[in-house]
Subunit: 455 residues, 2 copies
């Protein structure tokens, strides 16, 4: 242990090392409840690529596990410490190195906060779409590690689609450059994409080349009230089938609506069973919203309310963005699922989730990126009640089983981490897991990078 | 050899095996000139996944290399046979299994021809963007193997962005399912993307889930004449910097324009140094083209001619699509480069290419997906003149060196194959190649799949 600290100190400035156990303990876990987390030996906060290389060389020499971290806003325990590990926090590597409007790229260090980058590129008339709920605090490095999504995905896709190239420090301290800064490129296997979503288990991302879009017009939002989840899901299918490309298409069930109203007095309609929010950032969003409004009415919407202006639109989005936080106040604890199904199966997924809530005698609020078929059922329970806690975990699992049965995946955007690692094997199958493990072994033969995650 | 045939016959119908050397010889190579190609032992044309598994089990048992093939329209020799190999042609597995307008996906076998799929999804109001020049004959399996691009990429990206999930027969005959049929999904490492562009070296794709877009409005094209490549490239930068999203943005130099006119009397303006084609498939393409026309004029265009109607637009696109073929008629032979640079360096790339043509005393015609920075310099030479042939190869290499120097890649969309394998190592670096080789070893430990390609 003292050997570890001594060696780390040889290549890091004093302020880059935290050893006070009270402080290091605060780096033990991300925002997922009920995921195991160990006690780190030390937290390091490097500012340069060379310092990261020094940390990894030291870790390899002494066979010490390393857990990379961003802002620890993840929801799967992927950034949780293991006992005796080095927590490698990248938050101090937070420089935006380049923004090019002609090439439509940004080059950034991993600790840049998503919102900081978003606002910086806006000033150049550019747009970085990925917008997880935690966008005001989460880092680009964390977004890359978990391939995170957000409200934008129905039109703009997930983080993976914006990562063109990477610089990565490997487990043994070597520096690898992957990908490109060009619009296209097909030279060799796509290692860039392999790192995206790998939860820090293959290497430490120290630089990223990100693709940007031109900034679209301000989006306008419509809210539609439905008498049932089924009719709301039918509307989602009609909207997508008709060829519309909304910039968001979100669903909040009645439990979610009530929780949001209770937390922030948003005045959302509590009598409806499902509230659908749809937005367009097209040249003529009012016309597009009118067309979608008609489809909602045809599907059975009881009320369709287009926002008159961007301020009203922003208010509706705020309500949606606070959904998970609001649902966390329903009971003393929550577990948040992230099942994504083909959107044609969204109705079946929501009906099945309601049946699971009934069966286990629990409140399960659902908000969903409906346009993606990506649901976040939030299992609410009293963590001091052992029986309710057991039922919560069982219902959480039952929801993942249902998602797989419907042709979906256990995680649309939150990742596997610790929370779902038993489930990953079920989704991938034996051959898939074997190949994934062989890739892990090729990149990290000593198994030092974020052990105990994913598999 | 007879053992090989006997074993293959045990699991394949008679018509799925070709052994006549005159016929098998016609399967020896794709459309790249001057790439080594061996003599196949046998060509197999399976129709089912089980038959592909049988072929791979046989190959593994007897340690016989396997070269997977689509329509052999590739331009890098990636589908070229090696001596004594089994050529595994997937063209008979050509069923479209599903098209879903709600989920916006198609599920296809690898032998489906790109144009057949494109037209089939059009009937459902959907759009499969990837459109390589060979789209009327090339197969989806080949497109996936080479991650191929096309004219659409400046707005819609390459094939990789449309592959959601795969079924793959591994070297040992096991069947692997990767990815998803959902809009999002982040469960484990992205094996799907690893197969895209792997040129058949990691496994045999036998089924693909493809993402589709809603069919956009018919595009309208504008042609702009420039007095120099530099002014045309300046226009490209202005168009992209201003936040436009054209559905194509193509450049033809004077050599290309003349070659196209000579081949098909297209009446293109032969007095200009560079012809730029720009299109929009937006709701109001005329307005967008007018804005772009002004930018072209400001950059120095001598003439700006928007097409009046879709028929005129289609004629201009035909001219662009026949560019490579037309340039092939300039001399007895050609070598086609595929360097992609950041679009801000496009002007430097074209100036450097002209200097290389001058230095080596050769005609090098250039057409380019200008909006992507992806240039196709076509080195024209007399293959019966040994000195000119040598200079052609040297200039071909000099163009790749220039591309790397400008921060680009040796291949934007044609792949590595045999043609550029010495160059891949230069682009990836030692660590990159080592990791790529370790992935190859994990998937294909006996090295049977498409040996001698990529590395």
């Amino acid at each position: 242990m003292s050997d570890l600290l001594e060696r780390l100190r040889a290549g890091l400035p004093p302020e880059a090392l935290i050893t006070d156990p009270d402080v290091t303990a605060s780096y033990a876990h991300d925002m997922a409840s009920f995921c195991e987390a160990g006690t780190p030996a030390v937290v390091v906060l490097p500012r340069t690529v060379e310092q990261v290389q020094h940390v990894m060389r030291t870790a390899t020499a002494l066979r010490v596990p390393v857990v990379p971290q961003g802002a620890r806003t993840g929801l799967s325990g992927a950034a949780n410490a293991s006992d005796g590990c080095i927590v490698l926090s990248l938050v101090k590597m937070d420089r935006i190195l380049e923004i090019s409007p002609v090439d439509r790229i940004a080059v950034v260090e991993p600790g840049v906060v998503n919102a900081v980058l978003s606002r910086a590129v806006n000033e150049h008339g550019l747009y970085y779409p990925p917008d997880p709920s935690s966008w005001e605090t989460c880092t680009i490095g964390g977004n890359i590690g978990t391939a995170s999504g957000g409200l934008c995905c129905v039109k703009y896709g997930v983080t993976a689609e914006y990562v063109l190239g990477l610089e990565v420090v490997l487990a043994d301290g070597r520096l690898l450059t992957t990908g490109r800064r060009t619009a296209k490129g097909v030279a060799g296997y796509d290692l860039t994409r392999l790192f995206v979503g790998s939860e820090g288990s293959l290497g430490i991302v120290v630089k990223a080349v990100l693709a940007l879009k031109p900034q679209p017009p301000q989006q306008l939002v419509l809210a539609a009230e439905f008498p049932s989840a089924a009719t709301a899901c039918d509307a989602v299918c009609r909207i997508m089938e008709r060829g519309h490309t909304p910039s968001l298409l979100e669903l909040m069930d009645r439990t979610t609506v009530r929780a949001v109203n209770a937390m922030a007095s948003m005045g959302l309609p509590e009598t409806t069973e499902a509230l659908l929010l749809c937005a367009f950032d097209t040249p003529d969003p009012s016309a597009d919203l009118a067309a979608v409004g008609e489809l909602c009415t045809a599907a059975g919407a009881t009320e369709v309310v287009p926002a008159d202006n961007p301020a009203e639109s922003e208010l509706l989005l705020q309500a949606r963005r606070m959904s998970l936080t609001a649902l966390e106040t329903v009971k003393s604890a929550t577990m948040i699922d992230d099942v994504c199904v083909p959107r044609s199966r969204l109705g079946a997924m929501l009906a099945g989730t309601a049946a699971i809530a009934e069966e286990y005698g629990l409140t399960i609020g659902v908000c969903a990126h409906a346009g993606d078929g990506n649901t976040h059922p939030v299992v609410c329970f009293d963590h001091q009640d052992p029986d309710e806690s057991r039922r919560a975990r069982e219902s959480f699992d039952a929801i993942m089983a249902l998602g797989l049965e419907l042709g979906g995946t256990i995680t649309g955007e939150h990742g596997v981490g610790v929370l779902k690692k038993e489930w990953l094997a079920r989704e991938l199958g034996e051959t898939g897991v074997e190949l994934q493990r062989s890739i892990k072994a090729a990149f990290d033969p000593l198994g030092l990078l974020n052990p105990g995650k994913l598999f």
